[in-house]
Symmetry: C2
Subunit: 182 residues, 2 copies
């Protein structure tokens, strides 16, 4: 893993990507890392797209804005059009294949996973963000599974804890059963 590692979550409003960013930041903080977590809202947000960014480092973080991400999540077509062109050949890209068809291509190491469908199968599409977090984390090795779980459970309301634990398991299972790149 690069240090610092720059992670960008992108998708539609309502998919919980800001919460996902905050949770990843808190998980990394639990591991003693320095973290900067940013949301940028502008005209794009008013058109329904959403973006959250997390920079994680064992050392000081000099520049708090993600330029080209090391890890990119895309959960909507609009986000895919906007952010997939902005990757490096070594960027790890996770595409939600429930919402984005196979005709959408990009550079980088691409993983196509049915994140939203897995959340629906788990009980509710509201945990698509948790499924995505668990999948990304398993692919990119950002924090330990235990730290991620602790951060998720610390932030979600008590009555949704079971659902979110199942969502973490579902996200990890997606990675274990999917081809490494597709």
């Amino acid at each position: 893993m690069n240090d610092p590692v720059q992670v960008r979550f992108s998708g539609a409003g309502g998919q919980g990507l800001i919460t996902a960013g905050v949770i990843l930041a808190e998980a990394a903080m639990l591991e003693g890392k320095n973290v900067v977590q940013t949301q940028t809202y502008g005209p794009e947000a008013r058109l329904g797209s959403s973006k959250a960014e997390v920079i994680i480092s064992a050392g000081q973080i000099a520049y708090p804005e993600v330029t080209v991400p090391d890890v990119l999540l895309c959960m909507s077509m609009e986000a895919a059009k906007k952010y997939l062109p902005k990757v490096r050949p070594d960027t790890t890209v996770i595409i939600d294949s429930t919402n984005i068809g196979p005709e959408v291509t990009c550079g980088g190491h691409v993983h196509r996973l049915p994140l939203t469908q897995a959340a629906v199968d788990t009980g509710s599409k509201v945990v698509a963000n948790t499924v995505a977090l668990a999948a990304i984390n398993r692919i990119a090795g950002l924090v330990s599974t235990q730290s991620l779980k602790n951060a998720v459970l610390a932030r979600v309301p008590a009555k949704f804890r079971d659902l979110n634990e199942r969502a973490i398991a579902a996200g990890e299972a997606l990675v274990q059963t999917a081809p490494a790149t597709a």
Copy 2:
């Protein structure tokens, strides 16, 4: 109001300051503003303090890091020690007098308000962040009351909406009854 306006929320972990930052950012976005909202986690966070920052502008935001804030909220002694020395003479400072005694002084335009006590009186100290948001917003005129209310209600779980509506009213009432500076 300056443009861009830089707002810093500081206090202890668990006081909901990150949520407050996200809500203020979403309220400003509802008004068509450009917004950058950042959390920085480091050794300080592991010692129990928490910080969230929001930059709001009608135009592009060039540098996404708050230097000296235009508006500063302090909700814990530890945050007061850390951030009160870093204000300008024209910074608007809101101090939670439930947690920070009158012996703590600083420059800037200081407003001492019993934010946490008002939240407890409203029903629960978990809405101290909403009380603080409403009070700050009334003092600094960041967004309309309606935009703030819409952003709060969009983010809190349905069963806490009434409590948060009362917390907004309580925060605004604190400003109306308190001396302008103290």
